[in-house]
């Protein structure tokens, strides 16, 4: 080093700040481009939902005439498409599935994380492998079973189909429970708590982020599901969910008249999910377990 200074041949280093600035600029540019590509369909959908001009497609993005009629007609003109009924069907299904699935997933995950029983690993692997097969593989079989017990064209049947595979969602939740030190369970056990007290009073309060995640997942799946509901309802429009129903508006004979209404429906469909996420995001914070054990 001394030699280098003496001879004036000191190695030149690139400025750290400069390198950071350039890499940030490149990174942000890529992110902005991706965001624009990602956001454009939504903006298009929202703008189209307020379009006053009739017709399916326009060659321009911003409507010439803005109107709320598309939203109003969704709820008032129910002669052909009963959007309020679809909306209610979807809401009932999603809420019931969300509640049942959240309970099942949390309970399964806790059991697989904390209890040691014969066949535990085998069961976990089985659930994991079964979860890898797409649900529609069993569609025909499920349909015939439900038909036999008279549950086709009914929301109960649909709810049953949705919650049946709940336990398979255990993996992420179990991973979270595994990060909560077992000594906390043991301390509570010695303090006199039973398993359910430990679960409800100690583990669940520490698991808010994963509960939020589980609720969102459980709500999202039935909210936008199309395949099972269309198969099970077999053309009974009164029992459709929104995804199924809105798809009817895009049929060739309806698209010209109903496209803008379809866009309005799609915007309305996204509102509950957004609201749910905004409500739950305050719990979606990390570091809840801070201070429990020596870090």
């Amino acid at each position: 080093m001394m030699e280098a200074i003496k001879t004036g041949k000191q190695k030149k280093y690139r400025s750290k700040k400069r390198v950071e600035r350039v890499s940030n600029a490149v990174g942000y540019t890529i992110l902005v481009i991706i965001s624009i590509i990602w956001v454009i369909p939504y903006i298009y959908l929202i703008l189209q939902s307020f379009r006053g001009e009739p017709g399916a497609y326009t060659s321009y993005l911003i409507p010439k005439e803005f109107t709320f009629d598309n939203y109003i007609e969704l709820f008032t003109d129910t002669s052909l498409f009963n959007f309020p009924r679809w909306y209610l069907n979807t809401f009932i299904t999603a809420v019931v599935v969300c509640i049942i699935q959240t309970i099942v997933v949390l309970a399964t995950s806790y059991a697989l994380s904390r209890l040691r029983f014969r066949g535990r690993k085998g069961l976990m692997n089985l659930l994991l492998v079964l979860g890898m097969f797409p649900g529609f593989m069993s569609m025909t079989a499920v349909y015939f079973v439900l038909k036999e017990i008279g549950l086709t064209q009914s929301l109960v049947g649909l709810i049953l189909v949705y919650v049946a595979s709940s336990a398979m969602q255990y993996y992420i939740c179990k991973g979270f429970f595994d990060t909560i030190p077992k000594s906390i369970d043991e301390a509570a056990k010695i303090d006199g708590a039973s398993r359910h007290t430990i679960f409800f009073k100690v583990i669940l309060p520490l698991s808010k982020p994963i509960i939020v995640y589980t609720i969102l997942q459980a709500f999202l799946m039935p909210w936008g599901e199309y395949m099972f509901s269309s198969l099970l309802m077999l053309g009974d429009q009164e029992m459709f969910n929104v995804a199924n129903g809105l798809r009817q508006m895009l049929q060739r004979e309806n698209i010209a008249e109903y496209f803008t209404r379809f866009c309005a429906g799609a915007v309305l469909v996204s509102i509950p999910i957004a609201a749910l996420f905004i409500w739950l995001q305050k719990y979606y914070v990390e570091g809840v377990t801070g201070g429990a054990v020596k870090g």
């Binding site: 301390a187 056990k189 010695i190 303090d191 520490l206 201070g291």
Partner: protein, 632 residues
Amino acid sequence: MASLSLKHIYKVYPNGTKAVNDFNMEIADKEFIVFVGPSGCGKSTMLRMIAGLEDISAGELSIGDVVVNDVEPKDRDIAMVFQNYALYPHMTVYENIAFGLRVRKMSNEEIHERVVQASEILGIKEYLDKKPKEMSGGQRQRVSLGRAIVRDPKVMLLDEPLSNLDAKLRTQMRAEILKLHAKLNTTFIYVTHDQVEAMTMGTRIVVMKSGFVQQIDTPKNLYRYPKNKFVAGFIGTPQMNFFEGTLKKSGEKVEVAFKYTDARMTLPYEYLRKARPKYFDGNSEVYIGIRAEDISLAPNVVAASPYKVKMIVSHVEDLGDESLVYGDINMNGDGYSESSTRIIVKTTLSHTYRPGDVCEVAFNVKKMHYFDKETEETIVPRIPDINEVECEVQDGTLEFCETSIKLPPALSIGNGSGTVLIPSDCIMFHGTIPAQIVDCEQVGDRYLVSVELKGRRLYAVSSEEKVPEPCLIGFDLKKITLSVGNEIVQPLEEMVRLDGRFEKKKETTECDVNGKLKKKKSINFYLNVCETLFPAPEHISQKLFSALSPREVFSSLFTFEFSPYDIEFTQEGIEGDVVSFCEYGTERFARVRIGENIVNVFTDKPVSGKVYLSPRFDRAGVVEAARGIKLV
């Protein structure tokens, strides 16, 4: 407050690993017991078994008078402090401490009173509204202690509670835990790997290694009288110096020759009197142990001492008020590696030692320890198991120490000279042989009595204190081993061991229901001992089923252990043939062949030929043969 009783406790994992092996201990009320040992020695597993967080594979754990093997942790009335605090992070300190009381549905007023009291004791009252993450490590551990003491448990269990704290805080918390123990007056069981913590805190210390208890004793006794090389090396800082060497007795002197060096020293036999003669042949290798503080570099001490060796200094560790001088008693040794000639000397001298300096050091030979090279057990135990004495047998009379004893038929042996091994517990203070009690030393709850028989020192064990005076002694000849020429007469085996299995049988019994005889099917359990079925006693069935899975219970081979006094000659039972008798004068044992085994059975009646034996199972021990686990 409660005492604890741990009897033959085992922890065996499904893969066969034994984490705890035959742990036996009685813990008195209000004791402060410390389990200490290196990582993986089973100390935490033992504590967790006491807490109920781990199942006990075999054995019996009692808290107070209640066997708690199958009792839930919450019902054991214990509290536990964890190494990593294990606080509830979403609760405030107040709620953390109150949680156990709330679960037990205590009134809010009482909870408040207790939480405030506990927080005052631990000095955390001002933090009651804070969450654990806002507190330092020491404060969190105090909360953890608070959570434990607030319930006023019978037993406090502490699993390395200070390991995560820095050195200064550790010393402070150590004192506080001791204060807490004095204040709460309850039984504490404390696990640590730090021998300093163990020595400073425990009223008794349990040293463990690889699942086995090495020694249970007070800190002072562990330091002064380590039972084996492991305990000697584990307790004390720096570690005890260990040299290899041999001992050679000549007259009342013993020459100690250090291996790999020319160092020699001659000690009075007095210090090694309890060692068996076989170690003094000059060939049997032993480990010679001496602590760094029992070696002196002080010139005046060295000059006055006849027990000195030369060392070459390799390096020095200055600790402020004292220094540790490292070196080697082999002038070619490096003094750094842990070899059989490396020596560490603790000194308070201000003299500066430089690497390469050669100096003489004086050993305090009264504080030297000696361990068997193979077993690593001490060869000078506090209570010697065996007195080894030269003897002569002439026409059925045993002569040793100028004393003659007429040998009973069971000990008949040819004429000649040899040795007799007399266990210290077979010397009785009632008999016909005149002797002199010269010393009596209390060791635990027993007394080691030194008896002189015509100038030869014998060690005996007594449950009562003895004063130096003439006495009459006798020997329980069932326990002695006699070796003359090539002949050896072994002592009577203390246990009769018979193999067997646990079986179930579906049986139909007839019972009277409203005047009608009805057949009732039932499943009954039997012990199949040497192809003979005995109804399985309830306590044996219970213990086997609690320790093993049903499949294991019915497929395992067990060894049943009985005292020779607990087997009776009956009309039916295990078939055997009387082959001979062991006559010990007042007592007589029949040697009965059962299959290929021969067992000794006490009898006061004449028996011969084919006999049937019925063991008393209420006092039987049951060992799972494959893994050697004592289940009953």
